[in-house]
């Protein structure tokens, strides 16, 4: 088994995702980065499931995919609304919630 390779791939994807979330200004890009993070988790789940010969990891990965789809749906809707109201989806301009 090349479990280490899968885990490495997961770690790399995760890191790219984190970088995207932190560094990107465009809300759509941030959503896509979150997707990367979720998929990194999926890869880890599947890798461990294969290592341990159990189906639970696969099931969980399917759940994650479903939740991710929902999350993207809600997220994109929000982005759309924000764009309609402000003509911009740059996240650093969205600081009304500043305390």
């Amino acid at each position: 088994m090349y479990a280490a390779n899968f885990l490495l791939l997961g770690a790399v994807l995760f890191s790219i995702g984190v970088f995207g979330v932190i560094a990107r200004r465009n809300a759509v890009m941030v959503l896509m980065s979150i997707e990367l993070i979720l998929n990194a988790v999926n890869i880890n789940l599947i890798a461990f499931a294969l290592m341990n010969d159990s189906a639970e990891g696969h099931v969980f990965a399917l759940y994650v995919i479903a939740v991710a789809a929902a999350e993207v749906g809600v997220g994109l809707a929000m982005v759309l609304m924000i764009y309609r109201n402000r003509r911009s989806i740059a996240l650093d301009e969205l600081s009304e919630m500043r305390g």
Binding site: V21, I22, R24, L91, S95, R98
Partner: protein
Amino acid sequence: MMLAASASTGWFLENAFLIPLIPAIGFAIIIGFGRRLPKGGSEVGIASMALSLAIAIGATVQWIQRVGSVDEGSGEHALGGVFGFARSVFPTATEGGHGGEAYVEPVIRSWTWWQSGGLEFGLGQHIDGLAVMLLLLVAFISLLVQIFSTEYVAGDRRYTHFFAALTLFSAGMLVMVLAENMIQLILGWEIMGLCSFMLIGHWWEEEANSRAALKAFFTVRVGDMGLLVGTAVIFFGANQWAVENGSNGFSIQAISGWAMSGEASTSVLFWGAVALFIACIGKSGQFPLHTWLPDAMAGPTPVSSLLHSSTMVVAGVFLVARLYPVFYTGFDIGGTNVNLIAVIGAITIVIAAALAFVQNDIKKVLAYSTVSQLGYMMLGLGVGAWLPAVFHIFTHAFFKCCLFLAAGSISHSGSHHSFDMKKDMGGLWRKMPITAGSWMISTAALCGVPFFSGFFSKDEIIDNAHNNGYTFFYYVGLVGAAMTAAYMTRATYLTFFGTARGAAAGEHHDEHEAHDTAAHHDDHDADHGAHGADHHDDHHGAHAGPHESPWRITAPLVILAALAIGSGYLNAPAVGTHYFTDWVEPRGAAVELDGYASDEGHSEALGLAALPRAEEGYSEGCGYTDPSPGTVCYAPKLNHAEFSWGKAAPSIILVAFGIGISAWLSLGVFGGRRNPFVGLTRRFAPARWIHTLLVRKYFLDDLYERVIVRSVAHPISKAAYWVNQNILDGVVNGVGKSGRSAGDWVYRNVDQRVVDGAVKASGVVASESGHALQPIQSGRVNQYGALLFGAATVGAILLILLNI
């Protein structure tokens, strides 16, 4: 403990670990009590080095006896003994047949330092010819340098610290030299890095000095990354083989055996060797990381002398020599291909020698000369001339130490603390005959004049390059020899001949700040009052002028000058001596593995077929063929060139030519004789360009500082500054503010309305801490994300740490 019956041993060999331990304890004593001792700690330093030297001499004698006993007893089948975990790597001598060929087993001892993840990290000693030679050399040179220093830095305000650092520095080198495993080697290597930083920056009041110290430290750090990476690569490559043979992948003995076993993956060996060699480039000042070495001249002269002769810069060469099997097989040195070590060595020889021509600072000439000579050592190792290269370490240490101490003597007594050859020297040989004499002898040795020590080592490197088929590097070596002779002649002329200038003529300088060692000089001014008026006059009276140095400076010079001639005869083929070859060179003979189980899995553990070189010039033995099952090689069998005067003639002629041309030019340019080359750089544009290129040191410093440092370090520091200002400061200030206001409030109201106050106070605290945390609530999603992931990272690290 048991040892092989055929190899004699003794107390000194078995307890050689005391050699670094004594200076290390000496360092602790100096740093703890040095200021209270009558001589400021210098007596502890000298005593510990003398004791180390005594043990090193004992170990040397017993090692020579051991080699002798092996040579007599070889052929007999002797049973080997063992210590500790190195059980079955420990060999017994079986092959060899005639004297001088049998493997001499090193004296290895090891103690567990710490354990982690099922791995044992040991501290110990690996005493073989190379280690014994360097132990003796380092202890000896350190002792002389410390004696020299008692006079040279007398009255310095950090006298005690100077000796403490000097002693620790020697201890670091000694630890590294007898390292039993890579971890211990790294330990010694890093101690030296730290001490070189402290010593180069000894007079840190001058900004230039502390900059030079930082530059030395950081430049060497760049290379040190290679050491860590290389050690890791080699460990992962060698560990399986080593564990099968009862050792581990850090043991130097095991790594050597693994590298020669033919089972090692060639790409692991190659990349491991490349990474380790990068470390050597940094430490030994090879191109392109040589730039720190000349700047390291900012340190006191005894430090330069110690750094450049037997410690610090030799560490890189030592590493290559110590792990030679890794480099030999990794770079395929036996195969006459061009390899990294030889190329870097050759480049270094030529560019450093060229730079030495345009220096006005006498110590910088010597510094570039060191770089160039280190290039020779690397070249020697790169072309398979292990022994000449190691012998060059030995001879070079004596004459280079002597040259630096002579430069120190000149600045101390001759040129009023100036190192500028053009401004403050000239005609000094009449005033300082002992210094001048030892300088000349050492210069002759450095240039490779026949019958001086440098000739016997350097010429052997050049000859062996030719003999092993590296024709191009043979010519590079010859050109380098001529250049060496030429720049040393120039420096000698400027310093000792011609008309006396500046301080050498007895002029008293007022602009102290102009000198390299202004801080040092001010210390002298400040402290010499307490030393007696006569002493003071010797140094600073306008009427005194240059004079010979006191005995504590001249005695080391004379001893070193004698060795600059004498040390060469330990291995002078011209007069038929070859002690060094017998005692120091590891013999490339296959030895039987103790407790080898002749099962199948072993030989195909890594599934790599042995590749005997069946081409032309096929030979048998370690390094040519893989050892047969059940035996192991610890060193490659190397060719030795036969010496003949006919083969030495080209280099002798070129050296004579270099000296002659340079003397003629020096007389013209500096002495006022007329010849067509005077003013060439003013009249002829290409010559001027070359001169500028050399004066600016090939623009390498500009490249490193302007381009690399700016493009990498500045964005990072800017980002760190932003985080510091906006996030950390906000939190810290906020917390501080809320704490202070809460404290004020309690202080004022603690007597009145306690309950009411408490309710109010909690309100204030909540509000204040809310304000304090306000900057974090910036409303920016990205920043929230960064905080979230940062916190998760910290949490994960904590979990990992706590789990162990």
